[in-house]
Structure formats: structure tokens, C-alpha cells
């Protein structure tokens, strides 16, 4: 249990600078990641949850160096990802893959499936011209698509099938870790369940680790071992499933839970008016970012930023007055 984690994100920071305004743009800074830390063990599935603008997608993109970080470190199997050279990065990219929310936008519409999935194999020297078709067919089979899909184009598939292709592509390089950014949120419930089952099976077969980004607690409950809850660029709570949802420690986790509608009239949504909007990410409130919406906020919450601290076994929370 105490072995070095596969992925070790420490104090990760990313500031977005936007220019808006007329005719002279004003520059605003948004701290998308404001000191985010968490780890992922080998074969572990960690969910990252939060609402839009909390920075959950940015974590994946910065960790994969699709954007450059402004501070902190990302350790992957002992290597420092953020400091890695171009050459080392190629090797690291092979072992860390990504599945996107919208497979239609993450696939090149002009490539046939055999080329879309075969190209990474060829680029990394895992297959040559003679073996690539069989290799791709095997990948397709693994995600439940027929061999006849080989010579078709992405637009010929439904949303669920395209997401299978996206998953097959992530699997092509035999990674150890997959970042999945809302991989099922664009799908209908019945198809979403198919994809979730597929992910579960693949995970078991390959002992894959996942960073699973989602806004849907039900989906996270189903697929994840552990959950990281984010609010306005900060981690507010970390804990195992289902305990974190049964007994949330952070008031925000609790709010998320009671706001999520369940298909059961007996546990209907708590529709209290917590009036007021979530604060703007450009000007987050001082102290604990959540204090303006928190029923138990005190003077301390308004001024002092709560640090993430361990509470009990495997749980941690960034709150001065945990529930």
C-alpha cells in the first residue's frame, strides 16, 4: 500500500490568462489549478469530480503536458513528467493515454479506423505494414467492435461506438494509466452503461490505472476506487468510494451529493435555496473558496485557507470544520 504511487501530482498550478474587452483588452487571470495534489496507485481508479470550471479537466491536460504547468510536479513511475525531455516524453506518452469526452472531435474525420488506430502503432514501432491490420482488428475486438469496422470512417459510427474507438486508440500503446475526461457524459444512459461496463472489464484485464474525470457522482460511484473532489482549482476532499459519498466530510461534497438527483422519489433532491451563484473563478473569495455557500462558515473560513489534512484512514479534507 505504501509503495511509490504510479502517478504523483504535487502542488500543481496552472493560471489561465484571458484577454477580453474592447477596444483594449483587459487581462484576467484564472487559477485553474491552485496547488492540486493527489496520487494514483498502480491499477487504481481515481475519480476527479467537481462542477464546470473547477479545473478537473485541466489536471489531465497539464499532467500529460498538453499544456505547460505553471508550478508543481507530476511524477510518473519515478520520472518527473514536467521536466522530461522531448525524447523521454515520447516514452512517457506511450504509458499515459487519454480518452476524450467527445470522440467525434478527438478522431481525425479523414482517417479510416485502421489508420487512426494503426498510426500510433507504427509511430511507436509496435507494428509494421504487414501486422498492423491484425493488430488493429485485435484492438477493435477488445472494445467490442467487429473487424468490418477497420475500413470505415469515424462518422459512420454512433456516439457509443466512436467512444469505443477512442478507448481502443488509448489502449493501442498498452499504457499503464489512462486519463478519461468525461468519457460517458455525452452518451445516453443505455449506451453510457455499455461503455462503463467496457471500461470496467478493460481495467480488470490490463490492471490499468485511471484518472476518471466526471461531474456525475453516480458514474464515479460505479467505476472509481477513490475520489478527489475539486472546487475552484483546489482539492477539497479525497476519500474512498463509497464512504466519501455515504459520509462526506467537506460541506461541498455533501452539497454535490444531495443535489444529485437519484431515480428514487424517496431520496429526492434536496431543493433548498442555497441562493447565490458559485463565485467567479476570476475572483475567488478569500480564505476557503466555498465559504460564501457554506452553511457552517465561520470567521476563520473567510480569512484562512484550509489545508488538505488527513482525517482517519485514507481520507483527507480541506475544511476548518469538517462534518
Amino acid at each position: 500500500m505504501n509503495a511509490t504511487p504510479l502517478l504523483d501530482i504535487r502542488d500543481l498550478r496552472k493560471v489561465f490568462t484571458t484577454r477580453k474587452g474592447w477596444p483594449i483588452p483587459k487581462v484576467t487571470h484564472v487559477k485553474a489549478l491552485d496547488g492540486v495534489s493527489f496520487t494514483v496507485g498502480r491499477g487504481e481508479v481515481v475519480g476527479v469530480v467537481g462542477e464546470s470550471g473547477c479545473g478537473k479537466s485541466t489536471v489531465a491536460r497539464v499532467a500529460l503536458r498538453l499544456m505547460e504547468a505553471d508550478g508543481g510536479s507530476v511524477g510518473f513511475d519515478g520520472a518527473d513528467v514536467l521536466e522530461a525531455s522531448r525524447l523521454d516524453m515520447r516514452g512517457l506518452r506511450r504509458r499515459m493515454q487519454m480518452v476524450f469526452q467527445d470522440p467525434a472531435s478527438s478522431l481525425d474525420g479523414r482517417q479510416r479506423i485502421v489508420d487512426a488506430l494503426g498510426e500510433p502503432l507504427k509511430v511507436h514501432g509496435l507494428a509494421d505494414r504487414s501486422t498492423v491490420r491484425d493488430e488493429v482488428a485485435r484492438l477493435l475486438d477488445e472494445v467490442g467492435l467487429p473487424r468490418s469496422a477497420l475500413d470505415r470512417y469515424p462518422h459512420e459510427f454512433s456516439g457509443g461506438q466512436r467512444q469505443r474507438i477512442g478507448i481502443a486508440r488509448a489502449l493501442a500503446l498498452k499504457p499503464d494509466l489512462i486519463f478519461a475526461d468525461e468519457p460517458v457524459s455525452a452518451l445516453d444512459v443505455s449506451v453510457q452503461a455499455q461503455i462503463l461496463e467496457l471500461l470496467r472489464r478493460i481495467r480488470a484485464e490490463h490492471n490499468l490505472a485511471f484518472v476518471f474525470i466526471s461531474h456525475d457522482l453516480g458514474v464515479v460511484r460505479f467505476f472509481c476506487d477513490r475520489v478527489v473532489v475539486m472546487y475552484l482549482g483546489r482539492v477539497v476532499e479525497v476519500g474512498p468510494v463509497p464512504e466519501i459519498f455515504v459520509e462526506p466530510l467537506h460541506p461541498y461534497t455533501r452539497l454535490l451529493k444531495i443535489s444529485s438527483p437519484e431515480p428514487d422519489p424517496a431520496v429526492a433532491v434536496a431543493m433548498t435555496f442555497q441562493d447565490g451563484e458559485p463565485p467567479s473563478p476570476t475572483a475567488p473569495p478569500p480564505g476557503c473558496h466555498f465559504h460564501p455557500r457554506c452553511p457552517g462558515a465561520t470567521e476563520r473560513c473567510r480569512t484562512e485557507k484550509p489545508e488538505l489534512r488527513t482525517l482517519g484512514e485514507a481520507r483527507s479534507v480541506a475544511c476548518h470544520h469538517p462534518l
Binding site: G21, W22, P23, I24
Partner: protein, 313 residues
């Protein structure tokens, strides 16, 4: 608002500087000895040397460059090689004619193009739509000198509705307006085409937007939905297109002025070319480029007027 204008002007300074530098480089550093181009290769070395001295080409290139910038900064574009008159005076004397022509053609473009585009979008694939398509195809296909000659042949030579020889340079406002009609139509054709197209496509897009559905859900009739809810959203692309094609418009103004024999910047450019008047040409380049930069600023300011998102974000 005033502060915005000032700031936007300040932002334009680097662009203006780059424009001046480009003109300078084009005229001075381009391969070939300008004295040969101006005097021909038969001219004597002494004549060339005199010309070099006159053009300031004898000085080191960098000091020529700074002289040039310094002059322009003081509103001085030098003197014409051919007439030795201050170029600024020459330009100012014809500039009103070109401005008048350009504005008139923009008016033609807006007055015809906007209603035609809206109508075409509203009745997609109907008669108005086909008419708009054919009309705008013609508009983008006719080179300005071809359409100009055609207009001249039909309305001046055959029908004699308008003078063949331009009477733009007159104090009589009626005559001046009469002289403006054909050139403005000729120059406006292209604008009509662009404005029609962008209005039509913009309206088609706007009419499919959710907010138009919201407007209809309020029980608003067709006219209010189209003109109050959809059309204001098309103003931004229209302004963009007008700003974008202003350069083409100025180019076409040159041709229109030649064909209709109107005084203006275009005629002056041709005169400068024919007389190989390099300093005049240089001054005219500066003027037209400055005009475009100014037009871009105006476009940006117009955005603020037609789109609240630009102003208040």
C-alpha cells in the same frame, strides 16, 4: 468612449510604423536601380547622379529611412518628382472626390445589399433568393473596369442619361451628384454582392438560433422576429465584411476613377505611375495604407456599437 478611441489609436501606432517601413523597403531596397527605371537605361551617368542626389539616394540607407519617418511624422510626404509640388497638397486636393465616391458606394452596398440579403434568407430558395444569388455572382465576377465600361456604354453613350466626361469637379451640387451616380453604382456593385452574401448567410444562421425560437415562443410575429431579434445579430459580420473588403474597394476606386475619368487618388496613382514619379507613388502608398488602418479602427469601434458583448465584457 473617448478614452477607448485614444487607446485604440495608440495601439495602431506600431502598425502605422510597420506600414511606413514596408513602403520604404519596397521603394528603396527592391532590386534594380530606381534611376534606371525612372530615366530609362539610355540616360547618362551624370543625369542619374543628379537624380540620386535629388531623391536623397546618395545618403546612407539608414539615414534616408529616418529622414523619411521624420518627414511623415511632420505631415510631410515630400515633393513630387514630376511637378515639384508638395505631395500632401496634391493628395488633399483630390482626396474629397475619392472619399465621396467610396462613401456613396458603401451606401449603395448597404441600401441594396441588406434588404436583398434579408429577403433571400427569409424566402430561402424562393425568387428573391435566386435573384440575390445571381446578382451577387455578377457583383463578384465583374472586374470594376469591365462593369464601368459597360455602364458607361449603356447609360452615357447610348442613353445619354449621364455625362461621359466627368463633371465631378464642379461647384454645382446637382451636377456633382449626377457625376457621382454611375461611378458609385459601379463601385457599389461589389459591395452589394458582399453585403448580400454575408447578410443572407448571417440571417440564415441567426434564424436557426435558439434565441429566435425564444422570440417566437413569446408569440412575436415574423417581422419583429426577423428585424428585432435576428437582424441585429448579423450586424457584426456585415461590419466585418465591409471592413475586410475596404482594401478591394479602394483598389476598385482606382479603376472606377480611370474609367469615368474622375479626379481622385486613383487617377493620381496612374499619373504617378506613368510619369515614374516615385516620391508621389510613395506618398500615395502611405496615404492609402493609413486610410485602411483608419478604417480598421473605425470597424473596431463600430463593433462596440453593434455588439454589447464587445463593449461590456
Amino acid at each position: 468612449m473617448f478614452r477607448f478611441v485614444i487607446k485604440r489609436l495608440l495601439v495602431a501606432i506600431p502598425t502605422l510604423w510597420a506600414v511606413l517601413t514596408t513602403v520604404f523597403v519596397l521603394i528603396r531596397v527592391v532590386p534594380g536601380d530606381p534611376t534606371i527605371i525612372i530615366l530609362g537605361d539610355q540616360a547618362s551617368e551624370a543625369a542619374r547622379e543628379a537624380l540620386r542626389e535629388k531623391l536623397g539616394l546618395a545618403k546612407p540607407i539608414l539615414s534616408q529611412y529616418f529622414d523619411f519617418l521624420w518627414q511623415v511624422l511632420h505631415g510631410d510626404l515630400g515633393r513630387s518628382l514630376a511637378t515639384n509640388r508638395p505631395i500632401v497638397d496634391d493628395v488633399l486636393s483630390v482626396l474629397p472626390f475619392t472619399i465621396e465616391l467610396t462613401l456613396a458606394s458603401l451606401l449603395v452596398g448597404a441600401v441594396i445589399g441588406i434588404p436583398l440579403g434579408v429577403l433571400a434568407a427569409e424566402r430561402r430558395d424562393g425568387f428573391a433568393d435566386w435573384f440575390a444569388r445571381i446578382f451577387s455572382l455578377a457583383g463578384v465576377s465583374f472586374p470594376a473596369f469591365v462593369s464601368g465600361i459597360l455602364l458607361l456604354m449603356v447609360f452615357s453613350v447610348e442613353l445619354r442619361w449621364f455625362p461621359v466626361i466627368s463633371t465631378a469637379n464642379t461647384a454645382d451640387p446637382i451636377e456633382r451628384l449626377r457625376a457621382l451616380v454611375l461611378p458609385a453604382i459601379n463601385l457599389g456593385l461589389l459591395m452589394v454582392a458582399y453585403v448580400t452574401r454575408v447578410t443572407r448567410s448571417g440571417m440564415l444562421k441567426a434564424l436557426g438560433e435558439d434565441y429566435v425560437r425564444t422570440a417566437r415562443s413569446k408569440g412575436l410575429g415574423r417581422r419583429l422576429v426577423v428585424w428585432r431579434h435576428a437582424f441585429p445579430n448579423v450586424l457584426v459580420p456585415i461590419v466585418t465584411v465591409v471592413g475586410l473588403y475596404l482594401g478591394v474597394l479602394i483598389g476598385n476606386a482606382v479603376l472606377t476613377e480611370i474609367v469615368f475619368n474622375r479626379p481622385g487618388i486613383g487617377k493620381l496613382i496612374v499619373t504617378a505611375l506613368n510619369q515614374r514619379d516615385y516620391t508621389l507613388l510613395q506618398g500615395l502608398m502611405v496615404i492609402t495604407a493609413f486610410a485602411i488602418v483608419l478604417a480598421n479602427i473605425l470597424t473596431d469601434l463600430t463593433y462596440g456599437l453593434v455588439d454589447p458583448r464587445v463593449k461590456t465584457s
